[in-house]
Every structure is written in structure tokens, then in C-alpha cells.
């Protein structure tokens, strides 16, 4: 497994195509993410944003092909979902699923130990782990009660998204793809989640924020903004692109020439 230097690509995707149940959803996505960068992917519903996230993480049921799809120099497409996780990929789900009877902390420890096993490292012990997780929850300003509950069982939308951020903090991925982490949140929850993301930014960590609305980007500044339309990235730019979208709507991008660069 190769390490990336600062100017090497963390995520390199070229010509990514994906179809599900015979329907072509991704029609050739190109994306390059360097360590420490925050990218935003916006676009109308149904354009394939969530599919992109799912396909990068290795969700089953899709037919996927690409010219290039590499994370930290390693080919992604042949890897199982857990192997991609061990490489340092984290997917924040749009609708985090419930795991009845499975304790939150227990799941996290199982995940951390699974990665350690894969890397030939010793497993972390239960007590140490609990201290670590509590500390992270405190740092993020999240209620420690989350830790003793079952994964997403009876969680409100806001609690589920906070739980995703907590997991991110504990698992320390290199690349965090967050699929509509802001959807369904009220203003306070949004601020908390955004603060969490900002805390977790570092030179070794990149984010891809998939979002429909600009709200999140008011709190988390993105280095690059992309617009996805009809299964492709139709436009890329900086935060200025967000203002233009605000003014002119997504149809403007769809109607314009394919590569509308800054």
C-alpha cells in the first residue's frame, strides 16, 4: 500500500461509469482529490450524486467500470467494501440504517479492530477504547449518551448524522465522502455537524461533501465545487460557483457547455 505525498492524488477517478438494474446512472465521472482538500458535489436530485458515493464505497448491485479509480494509488474497483474502508475510505450515509441491539461503542471497536487486524496491528482493548471514544465525543460537543445506545436505534435524523460524524472521528479515515450529511437537519444540528467536520479537517484528510443545498457550505468552506448533472460532473469551480448556482439554478449548468471551468 502506498502513501501519498502532499501533491500526489488521494483520490483519482477517470471515466467512472455505473449502472444499476440495467439503467446507466453514472456516465463518465472525472474527479481528483488531493490530501487535505474539501470538495463539494452539488446537483439536482437523481443525477447520480449518491450513486457516486455508493460506488466509491463498493456497494453491491452496481455494474461499475472506469479508466481509473484509485485511492492512495491503489485500485478500488476490485476491492471489497471493508478493504476500501481499511484503505481509509469513509462513507457518511444519507440514511444511516438501524442495527437493533448492536451497541454503538461495540460497533466502533469492532470496526477499529477489523482495520488493525487487516494491517497486522494489535487490537485495542475495551477500556482504552471507551476512553478514546468518550474523549472524541467531548471534543465534538456530542452527548456521551450516544455511546451507550444501539446504532441508530430510535435516533432522530440529527442524532443519526451526529453519529456518522462521531464514527468519522473515531475511524480517522483519509477520505470522507459525506452523502447529504446536512439533509433533514435543523439549524442547530447543522451547525454542530459543520463544526465537527471543520474540527476533523487536516492535512492528511480530505472530504467530499455531497449536498443539494448550499447551507452546509456556509459553514464549511470548500476548496473545489463541482456540479453533477445527468451522471457526469458538468461544471467545476470554487465557492463562486455556488453563488452562480444560487442565482441561476441547476438548469443553467445543464444547458451550458459541458466544461464550464472557472
Amino acid at each position: 500500500m502506498s502513501d501519498t505525498k502532499n501533491n500526489e492524488l488521494l483520490l483519482q477517478v477517470k471515466g467512472l461509469r455505473a449502472s444499476v438494474a440495467g439503467k446507466q446512472v453514472l456516465k463518465g465521472v472525472d474527479l481528483e482529490v488531493r490530501p487535505g482538500e474539501v470538495h463539494a458535489i452539488m446537483g439536482p436530485n437523481g443525477t447520480g450524486k449518491s450513486t457516486l458515493a455508493a460506488v466509491l464505497a463498493g456497494k453491491l448491485g452496481y455494474e461499475v467500470e472506469a479508466e481509473v479509480a484509485r485511492l492512495a494509488g491503489v485500485d478500488l474497483l476490485g476491492l471489497e467494501p471493508e478493504a476500501r474502508a481499511h484503505l481509509g475510505l469513509f462513507l457518511g450515509f444519507q440514511y444511516p440504517v438501524e442495527l437493533p441491539g448492536v451497541n454503538n461503542t461495540y460497533l466502533l471497536r469492532a470496526a477499529v479492530n477489523a482495520k488493525r487486524r487487516a494491517l497486522g496491528e494489535p487490537e485495542i482493548d475495551a477500556y482504552d477504547f471507551l476512553q478514546t471514544v468518550r474523549a472524541k465525543a467531548d471534543e465534538l460537543g456530542f452527548d456521551a449518551a450516544l455511546l451507550s445506545r444501539n446504532v441508530n436505534e430510535g435516533f432522530s435524523g440529527g442524532e443519526r448524522k451526529r453519529n456518522e460524524i462521531l464514527q468519522l472521528a473515531v475511524l480517522e479515515p483519509r477520505l470522507a465522502v459525506l452523502d447529504e450529511v446536512d439533509s433533514g437537519l435543523d439549524i442547530d444540528a447543522l451547525r454542530q455537524v459543520a463544526a465537527g467536520i471543520n474540527r476533523l479537517r487536516s492535512a492528511d484528510r480530505s472530504f467530499v461533501l455531497i449536498t443539494h443545498y448550499r447551507r452546509l457550505l456556509d459553514y464549511v468552506a470548500a476548496d473545489h465545487v463541482h456540479v453533477m448533472v445527468d451522471g457526469r460532473i458538468a461544471a467545476s469551480g470554487d465557492m463562486g460557483l455556488v453563488d452562480q448556482l444560487e442565482e441561476r439554478g441547476y438548469e443553467w449548468v445543464a444547458d451550458a457547455q459541458p466544461a464550464l471551468v472557472e
Partner: protein, 495 residues
């Protein structure tokens, strides 16, 4: 003439009044049967003579023989039940030997080195403590010294508070009146086909009596009766908790229970008087037979509790896997006012196993309550059926029940059936039943794998979460073993 006690009796005999035993033996000696019986070789088959022989061999009081004979006669008039949702070849009741000799120590393994390594591997996975493995593998008694000394301390503690815990055979020798008072009052001899058979030919089992106001100081385990040669086939257990008494009883263990006898038809009766509680926990891992399920155990059990006293409570907990066929419905009759019945169960049917299990909660007295949580897991070609009955009779004012029964399907070849019956004859009965059947969803699987867990780890995690509410009800001693058992019994279930 010295009495030759069965090794099992030796383990558990409390300081019994010597004259009672002597009198019994004298009677037998008078009849002159002793020598004859010892040398008999009894062919398979069942008739009145075999029943008499069993009773004589055990030197039982007269009333027991009459009881057994009545049961036998009732059995001959009955037909095997056909309504279970299980498929099996017909059982030839005349091909079974109802009278089994103890294994000669010549056949037993001399040490762990002689034991099948696969079996030892299983003990390892299940987390069975080292000093117990030899006993479980059937290594001859004198090589396993630990258990005997543990048993001695144990017996003293019980004797100090007046708790009687011994084999059924012993109880018939030393406490015949107690046995006679309660035996068959919860499961009458003619209750069902297998109960009738059991009543006629049962070989041994446990007897527990907890006197008024006594909280039994430790969990009682039938497992202490190690090396009781082949008495497992037709076990009869009776547990009595008098006013204010409480006891927790553990049956079985997670080590795969091997037995040449295919048919197991046990009967368990529980009686709880005012303010008494009885908790009966079973963790059983039956030998599943070969890959096609041939040679596996048929486990047909009648378990019933009478919550006779006011505010009495009876709790059944079970984690079962492995039997080729399981047919059991631990039940509670809620008779006393304010009495409570509980049933917590995890049943796993993998490979070609079939489990038809559930519970009956019959609400008779006023303000009675019952809780049922049943988790069925089907994998491979397994078939799991929940059959429950919650009934409020016309006298059951204020009856309350909550039932949750869920089935988890692993793989596309297995089956899950849920057949509850909710019956109310009293307007104030409030019963709530909910059930679901599904598999580990794709979303759950992807979520965990994205967090770094393998598919197999995910399955174990989700299955354990699925069973959590039942595991929480198990006595500590069983809870950890039960989790390991679950993981082991589902190995290879992800195809």
C-alpha cells in the same frame, strides 16, 4: 449385602436419613430381585414388563410403579401428534431400548488425548473452561477430580439452608412424599403422547425443593451430574419453590451433546407458590448429525410451570441449536393473582434442522402478566416455526401480555413460520403481539462493511444484536457461552 449405588447417586446424595434407604433396600432384597436384575440384558421394546423392570431396578416406592403403569396404559391409547410443522421419518418405539446400562469405563476415553480433536476445537471456540472439557468428553470420572470437590462444597451450602437438590431417583428414595405431592400435577400423565411415554419410562432427572422463604444461594446446574450414563434420554425434572422461595436452575451446556439415542422426550414441571420465583434456563447444543442431518437428535420436550401462588413468577429462558428436530413449548399457567410468566428464547435452525417451538401463556387468575420474546434464526436449509398461544380465560380480569417474536433468515434456502394464537374471553385482557420476518438487510450489511467489518463479522454482529434482548435474560454463566454458541452454530452460514 451392600447396596450398590449408581455413581450419579453418589455425587448428589445429601445426608439422608439412613433408615429410609435401608428400609427400601430391605424391601427389594426381600423380593429377591436384585441379583436377577443385575445380570439381565434387556432387548429393545416397550411393554408393561419393561416398565416394571425399570421401576424395580430403581427400587422405587410402590406408588411410582402404579403411576408409571397408568402412564404406559394411557400411552398405548394415544397417537403420535402429527400437527407439528416438522418432517421426520416415523419413529419405531419398539426399536428403542428403554433400559440402558451405564457405559463400561472400558469404552470411555482415558484422557483428553483420546478425544476427537474436532470436539476439542469446538470446546475451545465455545470458551469452555479447560477443567470442564475432560468431563464433557466423557473421560472417566476418576480422572476428573475437580468436579467432585466442587460438588462437595456446593452440597453443604445447600444443605445448610434446607434446599434439596438431587436426582429424581434419589428424591424417590429420600423424599417420596414430596415427589408424590407434586409429580404429575403440572403435566398429567395423559397430557400428550411424549409426556405419557416419559412418565412410563423416565430414567432420571433433577429434583429441586426450596423451602419457605429461602433464596437459593447459587444457581443450580444439572451439569454437575457428570457421567450419568445415558440418563438423558427420558429425563424427568420437578422443581418446587414454596412461599417466598426463589431458585435459578440451569440445564445443559453449550458443548455439543452427543448421544446414540436419537429420541429425547423430557418432562419438566415447575411449581411456584405465593411470592416464589423460579427461573429455568436451558442452553443446549445438540449434535446435529452429519451434513445431511442424518443421525441427529429428535428433541420432544414438555415443559410447564404452574404459577400457583399470588405474585409468583416463572421464567423460561432458552438458547437452543443443533437438534435435527426440536419440538417444545415451555408454558406457564398463571393461576395465582398477580402471577407473572416469562419466556425468552433464541432458537437456531441451520443445515437441515427443524425447530417447532414456542410457548403457551394461559391467564387464569386476576391481574396476571406475561412476556414473550422469541427470536428464531433460520440458516442453510433450516426451518424455524414459532407456535405460541396466549389465552385469557373468562376469569382472567386485567390480564396483560406483550409478545415479540422475530425471525431472521440467513440465506435463501431457509424457512420461517410464525403461528401465534391470541385468545381473549375477558374484556379487560390487554394483549399485544408483534412479529417480523426479514433477513439482514443489504443496507445493514453495506453499512457495517463500509465501517471495515467483513460480511461474516457483520452477520455475527447483527445476529447478536437481534438476540440481545434474550441474552440479557440469561444467567451470567450462560450469557457468554450462549453468544459463542450462536457464532459457532452459524459458521459458514454466509454462502
Amino acid at each position: 449385602m451392600t447396596a450398590e449405588l449408581h455413581p450419579a447417586d453418589q455425587e448428589l446424595t445429601l445426608a439422608a436419613p439412613p433408615d429410609a434407604l435401608d428400609r427400601t433396600l430391605d424391601r427389594v432384597y426381600e423380593a429377591g430381585f436384585v441379583t436377577d436384575i443385575e445380570s439381565d440384558v434387556i432387548p429393545p421394546g416397550l411393554d408393561e414388563d419393561v416398565v416394571r423392570l425399570i421401576s424395580r431396578r430403581k427400587r422405587e416406592p410402590e406408588f411410582m410403579l402404579e403411576w408409571r403403569l397408568a402412564a404406559y396404559r394411557a400411552w398405548t391409547q394415544m397417537k403420535e401428534p402429527q400437527w407439528g410443522n416438522v418432517r421426520h421419518p416415523p419413529i419405531d418405539y419398539q426399536a428403542i431400548s428403554y433400559f440402558s446400562q451405564p457405559k463400561s469405563s472400558g469404552d470411555a476415553p482415558k484422557s483428553l488425548a483420546d478425544v476427537d480433536p474436532k470436539l476439542l476445537e469446538t470446546y475451545e471456540k465455545l470458551g469452555i473452561p479447560l477443567h470442564e472439557r475432560a468431563a464433557l468428553a466423557g473421560v472417566a470420572v476418576d480422572a476428573v477430580f475437580d468436579s467432585v470437590s466442587v460438588a462437595t462444597t456446593f452440597r453443604k451450602q445447600l444443605a445448610d439452608v434446607g434446599v434439596i437438590f438431587c436426582s429424581m431417583s434419589e428424591a424417590l428414595q429420600h423424599h417420596p412424599d414430596l415427589v408424590r405431592k407434586y409429580l404429575g400435577t403440572v403435566v398429567p400423565v395423559s397430557d400428550n403422547f411424549f409426556a405419557a411415554l416419559n412418565s412410563a419410562v423416565f430414567s432420571d432427572g433433577s429434583f429441586v425443593y426450596v423451602p419457605k422463604g429461602v433464596k437459593c444461594p447459587m444457581e443450580l446446574s444439572s451439569y454437575f451430574r457428570i457421567n450419568t450414563a445415558n440418563t438423558g434420554q427420558f429425563e424427568r425434572t420437578l422443581i418446587i419453590a414454596e412461599e417466598g422461595a426463589s431458585v435459578s436452575y440451569l440445564e445443559g451446556c453449550t458443548a455439543p451433546k452427543r448421544d446414540e439415542n436419537q429420541l429425547h422426550a423430557a418432562v419438566v414441571e415447575l411449581v411456584a407458590l405465593d411470592d416464589a420465583t423460579i427461573k429455568y434456563s436451558t442452553v443446549q447444543n445438540w449434535y446435529p448429525g452429519d451434513a445431511n442431518g442424518v443421525g441427529g437428535i429428535y428433541n420432544f420436550v414438555t415443559k410447564r410451570g404452574h404459577a400457583r401462588g399470588r405474585r409468583s413468577r416463572i421464567t423460561w429462558t432458552q438458547v437452543e441449536t443443533g437438534a435435527a428436530i426440536t419440538w417444545k413449548y415451555p408454558s406457564c399457567m398463571l393461576i395465582g393473582e398477580g402471577s407473572v410468566g416469562e419466556f425468552y428464547s433464541v432458537a437456531v435452525s441451520n443445515h437441515h434442522q427443524q425447530a417447532d417451538t414456542g410457548t403457551k401463556m394461559i391467564h387464569i387468575g386476576r391481574n396476571t402478566r406475561s412476556t414473550v420474546i422469541s427470536k428464531g434464526i433460520s440458516a442453510g436449509h433450516g426451518r424455524s416455526t414459532y407456535r405460541g398461544r396466549v389465552k385469557a380465560q373468562a376469569t382472567a380480569q386485567g390480564a396483560r401480555n406483550y409478545t415479540q417474536c422475530d425471525s431472521l433468515l440467513i440465506g435463501s434456502e431457509c424457512e420461517a413460520y410464525t403461528f401465534p394464537s391470541i385468545e381473549s374471553s375477558h374484556p379487560s385482557a390487554h394483549f399485544e403481539h408483534e412479529a417480523s420476518t426479514s433477513r439482514v438487510s443489504d443496507d445493514q450489511m453495506f453499512y457495517c462493511r463500509q465501517r471495515g467489518l467483513t460480511a461474516e463479522d457483520t452477520l455475527n454482529l447483527v445476529v447478536n444484536g437481534f438476540c440481545k434482548s434474550v441474552f440479557q435474560q440469561l444467567p451470567m454463566e450462560f450469557a457468554v457461552e450462549a453468544q459463542n454458541l450462536l457464532n459457532v452454530s452459524l459458521e459458514g452460514a454466509i454462502g
